[in-house]
């Protein structure tokens, strides 16, 4: 597929008098469409245990005892002292610190393409953690507020990216899995 055009956008220099236009030989431009797709097979590396434990309905952070800091999302290496951290399970409950209501999804993967807009992207301070964990909060957008108590809910899948084995829900609407 192609089209042939001549436009100011294609060549920015203003044409002016055609006899003195320095780009007069190049004003016609052809545009084509390419479709490129790539598949990626990649390792989740030292972060893998976080995702593996989601399958077991456990929410894992990492901790540096020397710095007394708990990282969620996990960091295999403590950036403060450059020592490897250790895994630590958290309850999965926490409070909303800030959020946005997204009316547009870029559809980064199949899991996100399945979302209905608008959806809530929340930054949650999990009990026991020192950092905010960003994820989807399945709650009516107008009910979300700072300090709202939420908790991790687990999905059985199948999912394309294992980060979608979890999401947040308000504590008030959480139901234990059967």
């Amino acid at each position: 597929m192609s089209d042939k055009v001549s436009s100011q956008i294609e060549i920015a220099t203003i044409a002016g008098d055609p006899t003195t236009d320095p780009w007069r030989e190049f004003r016609q431009v052809e545009r084509i469409t390419l479709e490129l797709t790539q598949g990626y097979k990649y390792s989740l590396g030292k972060y893998s245990r976080f995702f593996i434990e989601l399958e077991n309905r456990r929410f894992m952070a990492t901790r540096c005892d020397a710095c007394a800091k708990t990282y969620a999302p996990p960091r295999p290496l403590c950036p403060s002292c450059l020592q490897p951290t250790t895994w630590q399970e958290l309850s999965g409950e926490g409070a909303v610190e800030t959020w946005s209501v997204l009316h547009f999804s870029p559809g980064s993967n199949a899991d996100v393409r399945a979302l209905e807009t608008p959806f809530v992207l929340a930054y949650v301070l999990l009990d026991g953690a020192d950092t905010l964990f960003p994820h989807l909060l399945k709650a009516p957008p107008e009910q979300v507020e700072r300090g709202m108590r939420v908790r991790v809910a687990y999905s059985e899948g199948p999912v394309q990216h294992p980060i979608h084995l979890m999401y947040f829900v308000p504590v008030s609407t959480y139901e234990e899995a059967p």
Partner: protein, 372 residues
């Protein structure tokens, strides 16, 4: 890009690049441009081979980081002249959906992008925290969206000048609340070019040397921060990297009262509220006072410190690899006194440019001054 280079040569009064010692390619994305080692192709296109070249990338800060790096090449004595050419094709090559996906790749892919995050969403969460902490309002940041698009009307190279009101911004489609369509900057194709040189080199080679006030690159600062917003908790309202970059640049330039000592500034208004955060982090006003200050008109063309006289990313456009260079060109033209009279700041002697990558994981502040 070739057109930007030719413009630059005309401006310097040079017929060709034979005397120029070094090239520097500034572009962010191999994905958008659909070409790797683009720097080598650009160097070839403008006939700078076999001279040395380097490619610089730093997300949204790419253009400013390129100029900072070029400046370091010159002041270190590695070369006496270096052509900095920046280019990006963010605007027309892909749909805005694909553009958001490609930009989201510059977030932390597994933890931020794969959940459905976009930069609009990350910035929105950040400005919401700013609103909660300081009472900043949507009406205040709408003022930025109005002013910068109005300023773009006085800039012939601007992509999207608009005559709009605060109410128009507030009524525009929600994208990532509290940001709405008119709070968001543009996707642009564009290029820009600057020739940096020592004074001796310019005297010896540029026929137009001395025609205009000499402008020199007087200071530069660069700061960094965690990739993810959540890792900055509890400091999530403002840009720590920008404060660090400004501190370094002000120390180098001997500036202690930035609001009084800077005459014109191009700020990174990727979203309207980001300019409010920037005027705080650059020390123009105290933390939390950016909203009222912006809404008061302090940074309008007739205000105390005019910012984004070019129209900024909201009005002029944001071709990433060219953006920081476009900002430096705007500031230089302001210092020369050759900008369109409707946006020219009277007797501007010192100007600042501010850019950052992501949500300021890398931040660069460059300062330019008139020598006379």
């Amino acid at each position: 890009m070739a057109e930007a280079v030719l413009d630059c040569l005309t401006d310097a009064g040079l017929d060709d690049l034979s005397a120029v010692e070094h090239g520097l390619a500034s572009y962010e994305s191999d994905h958008f441009n659909l070409q790797m080692t683009l720097g080598a192709i650009l160097q070839d296109t403008i006939g700078l081979t076999p001279k040395p070249s380097v490619r610089i990338e730093g997300g949204g800060a790419t253009g400013a980081l390129a100029l900072r790096t070029a400046w370091a090449h010159v002041v270190s004595g590695l070369c006496d002249s270096i052509l900095v050419y920046g280019v990006e094709k963010n605007g027309r090559g892909v749909s805005s959906r694909t553009a958001n996906q490609l930009f989201a790749l510059s977030a932390d892919v597994d933890w931020e992008m794969m959940i459905g995050g976009t930069y609009t969403g990350f910035y929105a969460a950040m400005i919401r925290a700013h609103m909660a902490a300081f009472g900043t309002t949507e009406r205040q940041f709408a003022h930025v969206a109005v002013r910068n698009r109005r300023n773009a009307g006085f800039n012939p190279i601007a992509q999207k000048a608009m005559d709009i009101s605060v109410d128009d911004v507030l009524a525009s489609l929600p994208i990532a609340e509290p940001y709405k369509l008119l709070d968001c900057s543009l996707l642009s194709d564009g290029a820009a070019c600057i020739l940096l040189a020592t004074e001796d080199w310019a005297k010896a080679h540029c026929p137009r040397y001395g025609e205009r006030p000499r402008v020199y690159f007087s200071a530069s600062g660069c700061g960094t921060d965690t990739m993810r917003l959540g890792d900055r908790y509890p400091q999530i309202t403002n840009f720590r990297a920008k404060r660090e970059a400004a501190r370094q640049a002000y120390d180098m330039a001997g500036i202690s009262q930035p609001l009084a000592e800077i005459d014109v500034a191009e700020l990174y208004d990727s979203y309207s509220g980001v300019e409010i955060q920037a005027v705080e982090d650059l020390g123009f006003v105290a933390e939390g006072e950016g909203g009222p200050a912006v809404a008061s008109g302090a940074f309008d063309l007739d205000g105390e410190l005019p910012v984004n006289t070019s129209g900024g990313l909201l009005g002029r456009g944001a071709p990433v690899g060219a953006t920081g260079i476009l900002q430096a060109i705007e500031v230089t033209q302001q210092l020369w006194g050759v900008a369109d009279a409707r946006r020219q700041v009277s007797d501007a002697r010192r100007g600042l440019t501010d850019t950052h990558a992501g949500i300021a994981s890398i931040s660069v502040v460059n300062i330019f001054e008139r020598a006379d």
